[in-house]
């Protein structure tokens, strides 16, 4: 390993750290300050608009327990992320706050992760490649470029482990204090942290001392405390509202979520291949690595159900990918040319996915015509319910300040599956009476349509379903039609 770290005389510990920070800063700032996004007035993605709206509400009202805009009203679960964001909005302008918060969280996470890996005595080369693969992954960029509550949850997890490994007595208390807020970010993050703590506490005595410094008892205690806090927090919620309804209409594809190259926000194909190779290569030391395998297995199972934990999976896959990369580099190759070519291709493959994802991020922002249409709706319509595809819900709520018939915040939404079925009946039906009945049932005042909806997201044909019924000017009035965006008013 020393040979490798001395690859050049500049590859010192300090320089490696600085390079990592510089790469992280570059990757996190690039989407905001280059390409189409630099000139776009909008946030990137859809979920950030939800966080933006809630944080703004908190600023104005001081707190929020019931969301009157989403679905026309539903319970709002406390999320500390919104308060952190509201704090940033208080001190900075909106435009600065929306990139500064994720940026700072990203940089802090990398610094903390670096320190944590140092405490685990991970060799410096492994640490460097681990974090390089970690920050260059689409999952990291997705978490720390957009407004995403996973960014704070992940930082708290790192902070918790950092304190857990500390030797002072106060550090245990600090560790509990850091782990505790994770409960409020959602059950998936709580489960990941709980399982990590449990796995850590189960490590046997005969494992290398330097790898697992000590406090398994502390970890077990923390896991127990975390469990109790979860019980105290979630029990009243479940008792009052019951379990959230299972969403049947959002079809996730595991492979698309996993590989960013297939259109998701997950990981680079080459990183996944390297991670698999790393996993196989560590099998010789399976008795040392078994806790890592167990943690990775838990994560893989959880990731299958929800991609919100992708940043944690990213950490696991980066560990194995870095391991494979280091073995490939350290290994004495019979054909040196092939060694250089293979590593070159691997690095190209890894960076290809990163560049491709950065390029794709500009498509995640709402188009200019969409943003203008929503602003127009906000200014020129009376408060009322707006029907659109559920993926447009957060935009309608944040940019037009109107109630969306549906959005992607499905937890404790009123009958989301029935609503979706009814929205499909409205979109696809050609019977005016039935459509009018459903529009009246939900008191829908406006219908908002964009190009993507007309090109496959909702309709595939011209004059299909509702598009055909719009000709009935006794029921519908076209109040906006610019750049592919149409807004129809429902007459009553």
């Amino acid at each position: 390993m020393k040979d490798f770290i001395k690859y050049t005389k500049y590859a010192t510990e300090r320089n490696s750290f600085l390079v990592l920070i510089a790469v992280t800063a570059l990757l996190l700032l690039l989407p905001h300050f280059s390409g189409p996004l630099s000139s776009s007035p909008a946030l990137i993605g859809r979920e950030p608009y939800y966080h933006y709206r809630i944080a703004k509400s908190i600023m104005e009202e001081g707190g929020i327990s019931y969301d009157y805009i989403s679905y026309g009203g539903k319970p709002h679960l406390f999320n500390p992320y919104h308060y952190v964001l509201a704090g940033f909005f208080y001190f900075f302008t909106d435009r600065i706050a929306v990139w500064l918060l994720p940026f700072m969280l990203g940089i802090l996470s990398v610094i903390l992760f670096y320190k944590l890996l140092q405490m685990f005595k991970l060799p410096s080369a492994h640490r460097f490649f681990f974090l390089l693969i970690f920050v260059a992954s689409p999952s990291f960029i997705h978490t720390f470029v957009l407004l995403n509550s996973a960014s704070v949850a992940f930082l708290f997890s790192l902070l918790g482990f950092y304190f857990l490994l500390g030797k002072r007595k106060i550090s245990f208390a600090a560790s509990v204090m850091a782990f505790a807020p994770i409960v409020f970010f959602g059950l998936a993050y709580t489960l990941v942290t709980f399982l990590f703590l449990l796995v850590y506490s189960l490590i046997k005595e005969n494992t290398p001392k330097e790898f697992f410094l000590n406090p398994k008892k502390k970890a077990a205690t923390t896991a127990l405390i975390l469990f109790l806090i979860s019980l105290l927090y979630y029990s009243p919620i479940y008792l009052e509202y019951g379990f959230p309804e299972k969403i049947t209409f959002v079809e996730g594809n595991f492979f698309v979520s996993l590989l960013s190259d297939l259109g998701g926000n997950g990981f680079a194909l080459f990183a996944v291949l390297l991670a698999l190779s790393g996993l196989i290569l560590t099998w010789g030391n399976k008795y040392v690595f078994w806790p890592v395998y167990l943690g990775a297995l838990f994560l893989a199972i959880l990731f299958f159900y929800t991609d919100s934990v992708s940043i944690y999976v990213n950490a696991a896959q980066s560990f194995f990918a870095a391991h494979a990369l280091i073995i490939l580099t350290k290994r004495k190759w019979e054909i040196p040319l092939l060694k250089n070519l293979t590593i070159f291709i691997l690095l190209l493959g890894l960076s290809f996915s990163t560049v491709s994802y950065l390029d794709r991020m500009s498509d995640m922002a709402p188009e200019k015509n969409t943003a203008e249409g929503l602003k127009w709706l906000g200014k020129n319509s009376k408060p009322g319910i707006v029907l659109s595809h559920y993926s447009r819900g957060f935009w309608i709520e944040a940019m037009a300040n109107r109630t969306a018939f549906m959005d992607e915040s499905f937890i404790y939404a009123p009958d989301p599956n029935t609503r979706f079925e009814d929205s499909e009946k409205i979109f696809q039906g050609r019977n005016l009476d039935k459509t009018k009945y459903l529009l009246d049932k939900y008191s829908i005042d406006y219908i908002w349509i964009d190009e993507e909806m007309k090109n496959g997201l909702v309709w595939t044909k011209e004059q299909q379903g509702l598009l055909f019924l719009f000709r009935n000017n006794e029921t519908f009035n076209n109040i906006y039609n610019t750049g592919g965006v149409e807004i129809w008013q429902v007459k009553r």
């Binding site: 594809n253 698309v256 000709r471």
Partner: protein
């Protein structure tokens, strides 16, 4: 010794010439190429003229983006600079395909060290019915892919000897993904071999492992570069090339064993499989494991319907032809130890007769029936009429298999052809396409023809075959369809526009 080498080369040259002559004879026996060929021909001509492939195609699907690896087209375009395209399309791919005989000879000789076994094996590879028939007149990139893949495998066999094979393999690694997307099978085959070798504790040199990992990463990376947009657009369905769901069944068919035996040839099939059984379970040799790894990769891909049946059977056929060499050697060594050894010539005659009956003759008969799958004079005249008598931006509706002909010969826009990648809403388009041909309602037909801005409907034997009817609404001379051409092939002009009341 000198005489022996010369005789060996003489026989091989003779075999190569026989295979090439047979292919060329059959290819030149029809005036036009198979329907599949016209996409490649158009790309070759475009490259020869402009120096780059036509990736933004204004005619296919009335304008679309294409993604494909261009090496095969570039090589043909190079020949097109000094040869007419009809000659390039017939001669060059058949030369490539015939080189398979030489490559398989080299591999078989390397495995068995027997000239006779190698010659017999290469003869079988030259006359694999499905490979012979599907590539003789279709300007198929598989004619280049297979010799290159098998030469790469030959290099893999030889890497522990001469260093030049290592460099050949490195160079080929960059070429393979530039020929066909199915080159991914090469990666899969290598990885399965690696796993098999690991499981069986087969001794593997460091060089070999390096030369397996390197191609795997390079090929994946190049394919990602080429197909980046297709991956993003189609996600996992990219594997099936965005083929319309209704067509998937016929494109990625199930395997019928008896039909497969006939298409591959019964000698390589039966004896190749015997060799797999014998060498995998009894004698563990590296070479057999390499080819078994590839056979397993092909079989799995066919089973999971990841590759077209035709392509999979071609690959299997060639692999089994290689493995047959091992059987040939073992069989005649065994025969030498028996009392009937003096009659070994009788067994040789029996094998040759079997080879002619089950490989050569089916190759010819399959090719002859495959040659019928090319346009006739009447179709070409109709297409030339479209080229000369219709406006340059006219959209022509034609059967799926006529799509490339509309672009290449008539030089007009089509609505549908067999390149589905990057086409949005392909299932809806395919449903519309079927409705246009099969509907008995004029309003439905006019509405959809308007939707795709169709000016002419081209009805050839393909349309009649694909839809199994002659009874198209257009032939009923409704007021919306004027018969513009009638000479074996029918062309109708769409004259109506459907206006819906507001």
């Amino acid at each position: 010794m000198k005489i022996a080498i010369k005789r060996e080369y003489l026989v091989l040259t003779l075999l190569f010439s026989v295979v090439l002559a047979s292919r060329l004879y059959l290819s030149f026996s029809v005036p036009y190429f198979n329907y599949d060929a016209y996409f490649n021909l158009r790309q070759v001509e475009y490259i020869a003229e402009h120096g780059k492939p036509l990736y933004e195609d204004p005619l296919s699907y009335s304008g679309r983006t294409l993604v494909f690896p261009p090496l095969f087209h570039y090589i043909l375009a190079l020949f097109n600079l000094f040869m007419p395209i009809t000659l390039v399309g017939r001669v060059v791919p058949n030369i490539f395909a015939s080189f398979l005989v030489v490559v398989i000879y080299l591999i078989a000789k390397e495995i068995t060290k027997s000239r006779a076994a190698a010659i017999f094996s290469s003869a079988i590879a030259g006359f694999i019915p499905i490979f012979f028939s599907k590539t003789a007149n279709s300007v198929s990139s598989s004619t280049l892919l297979f010799p290159i893949i098998f030469y790469a495998l030959y290099c893999l066999l030889k890497i522990n000897g001469d260093k030049k094979y290592t460099y050949h393999l490195i160079a080929l690694t960059f070429l393979i993904p530039l020929i066909e997307p199915t080159a991914i099978l090469f990666v899969l085959g290598l990885l399965i071999y690696l796993i098999l070798a690991g499981v069986e504790n087969l001794k593997q040199s460091r060089r070999e492992i390096e030369l397996i990992f390197f191609p795997a990463f390079v090929i994946l990376w190049i394919m990602f570069l080429i197909y980046k947009n297709a991956f993003l657009a189609h996600g996992v369905s990219f594997i099936w090339q965005n083929t319309p769901t209704e067509l998937l069944g016929s494109y990625f068919k199930n395997i019928h064993i008896l039909e497969s035996v006939y298409l591959i040839g019964s000698i390589p099939f039966v004896f190749g499989i015997y060799v797999v059984y014998y060498y995998i379970f009894r004698e563990k040799t590296r070479a057999t494991y390499i080819f078994f790894g590839f056979a397993l990769a092909t079989g799995m891909s066919l089973w999971l319907r990841l590759i077209h049946l035709d392509f999979g059977l071609m690959f299997l056929g060639i692999l089994l032809a290689v493995l047959f060499a091992q059987f040939y050697l073992s069989f005649f060594i065994y025969l030498e130890k028996t009392k009937v050894s003096r009659f070994h010539w009788l067994f040789l005659i029996l094998l040759v007769s079997l080879f002619i009956a089950t490989s050569v003759l089916p190759s010819f008969s399959y090719t002859l029936s495959e040659l019928k799958n090319s346009p006739g004079e009447d179709e070409i005249n109709a297409l030339l009429w479209l080229r000369d008598k219709t406006e340059a931006d006219s959209v022509i509706l034609a059967a799926l298999n006529d799509g490339h002909l509309i672009n290449y010969i008539a030089k007009r826009k089509n609505v549908f052809d067999t390149n589905f990648l990057l086409i949005r809403n392909i299932d809806q388009r395919f449903r519309d396409f079927n409705t246009i041909f099969t509907t008995q309602y004029q309003t439905d037909a006019v509405r959809l023809l308007n939707k795709y801005e169709v000016s002419y409907i081209y009805i050839s034997k393909n349309a009649r075959g694909e839809f199994g009817t002659d009874d198209f609404i257009y032939s009923k001379h409704g007021k919306c369809f004027d018969e513009a051409y009638d000479s074996g092939v029918f062309i109708y002009e769409a004259t109506c526009t459907l206006e819906e009341e507001g």
